[in-house]
């Protein structure tokens, strides 16, 4: 589904990613772990198309198509979803209006009719229930005054609504207590299918107790220095990152 080939990226002439290779197939869950500053968030931003980063070498390929020239919204229309570590607050735009706009823009871009209001409402309710989201929450301004847990739950709610092919969860566990973590992880697991894939980016092994990865990669200094199965996460938890340097 997603192939990252020898990806080099920089920001303000500073090289951050120095040759990343990844191959994620439909139905798989991959985890990327690594210490602070290793390039984890850069990798997710580059896949999602953030313009501040310059791809200097290599490519990101989704279902055979090179994403290089595509704007972030075009990547979203093709099925890439990035759950933000720090979701942005947008006062004055309700969660419902925001997700309606996002869904209908995606439908428009992929040649579909706008979703009728009735169906939209039904879908919103269905997904809100899935993530144990209070209905009142949906008429609040997007992320404004939300707790850390509410913000992350709202991210996964949007993911549920948009039904992406590849979901990238960037530090989704940060700022979550254990109950919120379970709800979020549970939501992700319910959305998981043989047709989509998940890339979990995390600093700690904790989230991986709930979202079980098929593969774990260790990112260090802009390169993947080790890959393995889920047991690699436990090893990292025990030994730290130093032994890999």
């Amino acid at each position: 589904m997603l192939q990252v080939k020898n990806l080099h990226a920089s920001i303000n002439d500073k090289d951050i990613l120095k040759g990343i290779n990844l191959d994620i197939k439909a139905g798989e869950v991959h985890a990327i772990m690594g210490p602070n500053g290793s390039g984890k968030s850069t990798l997710s931003a580059v896949i999602a198309g953030k313009e501040e980063y310059e791809v200097t070498e290599g490519s990101v390929i989704l279902n055979g198509e090179d994403l290089d020239e595509l704007a972030p919204e075009e990547r979203a229309h093709k099925g890439i979803f990035l759950s933000f570590q720090y979701p942005v607050e947008i006062p004055g735009v309700t969660v419902t209006n925001f997700i309606k706009t996002a869904i209908n823009e995606t439908r428009k871009a992929t040649g579909q009719e706008e979703l009728p209001a009735k169906d939209m409402l039904k879908l919103i309710r269905e997904k809100a229930d899935l993530l144990e989201i209070d209905r009142k929450f949906l008429s609040r301004s997007l992320n404004e005054g939300f707790s850390g847990g509410e913000k992350k739950r709202n991210e996964i709610f949007q993911m549920a609504m948009l039904e992406p092919k590849l979901a990238i969860l960037d530090e989704t566990d940060s700022g979550l207590d254990i109950d919120a973590l379970k709800v979020v992880a549970n939501g992700v697991n319910k959305l998981k299918s043989d047709d989509n894939a998940v890339l979990v980016i995390t600093h700690y092994q904790r989230l991986l107790d709930y979202i079980i990865p098929d593969f774990v990669h260790v990112l260090y200094n802009g390169k993947i220095v080790k890959s393995g199965g889920k047991e690699l996460a436990l090893e990292l938890e025990e030994k730290g990152y130093d032994w890999l340097k």
Binding site: G49, A71, E73, V88, G92, A102, E105, S141
Partner: protein, 440 residues
Amino acid sequence: MDLKEKLVSSFLAFENKGGLDLDSKAHSIRRQAIQNFEQKGFPSKKDEEWKYTSLRPLLKHDFSLFPSNEKAVEFKNIKQYLINDIESYTLIFIDGVFSSFLSSTTHDDCDVCVLSSALTRPKYKMIVDNYFNTIAKNNNSLAELNTAFTSEGAFINIPKNTIVEKPIQIVHFSTGSEKEILLQPRNLVVVGENSHVQIIERHQNLSKNTTFTNSVTEIFLHKRAIVDFYKIQNDTVNSSLIDSTFISQKTQSVASVNTFSFGGNITRNNLEFYQEGEHINSNLNGISILNGKKHVDNHTLVNHKHPNCESHELYKGIYAEKSTGVFNGKVKVQQAAQKTNAFQQNNNILINDGATINAKPQLEIFADDVKCSHGCTIGQLDESALFYMQSRGIPKEEAKALLLFAFANDVVEKIKIPQLKSRITKLIAKNLGVNLGFEL
């Protein structure tokens, strides 16, 4: 002959053109005002209050002061500038002349009519003598100029204990009957104890000719009166407006002025609140969304003179292309005004490098037991918010518009007339060049 000389020398002709009561107190005020104007002249950029707004290009025009030609205007020509989906009283002025044909006035429970008749009829003499030009005389030479030539405008007199159910729309049209015209409408609004009125005011040029409007409004609120005033400024690029609005409030009254500036060449709003009692609430809200070379200057003053009063001020600005904005918000808290709550906020977004905002919050506090705050920001669109929205499939241009909409939204939320709110929302969407799938 420059414009000042022309105006001063026209005063005699103005007196002689008929229709004025030359023995009235109001006329002695006019005479004093023309002398004051002659002494002060137009403000220049050397005046601190006019540092960022130059009238010079405007004053070069050879304005007609008393239009001689009449141009017929039909309702269909002006319909789009009115809020039509509500019942309202309307006061329509065409090139400074009241059109009874297009207007809908009343004398039933309250007076919604014109100043020209109030100035000459014995019935209203006491009101005019008591209120006219009692708060508009604050060292403002343009207000003096307007006072000197006062002849027409809205006269709204609400007796006590009266809720005026229908909003009042005051709309001044210029038709282009003269190549360059100077209009000086003068409005007087007196609201009695416990009474409530909503007013919508607009100036609209129907032609491509040049219009310069120098408008003055005085509003008096008695005890517990409530006034909601809305100013829609979306005129053509050949139209300039200097609006001076003065508000005097008695105990427990609530006055709100909401200014929506989207168009015009040079727009200057002088908005002054004088609190003459306790437990008064003064609200000032504004949005400016400008492009091209448009210029909007909001100069506000809240004068807290007595204890236990509040003021809430919120002005937002979005400036694109080579537009310029000025915000100068002065809050005075006098020594006697203990327990004052005064809040001021001014937020600005500059879309392009060529756009300018000059923001100047000014707090003068002489009392020691008060809560006063002010915040002023100037920024660009938040790139991380844009990326966030794009990553959810919303194209960049729409994401920008949505963010700007959201930015302006808390001012729109202050509008208490739903039909007006929807109209303003549409105007904002149009000015931002978007078609949103929902109403905020």
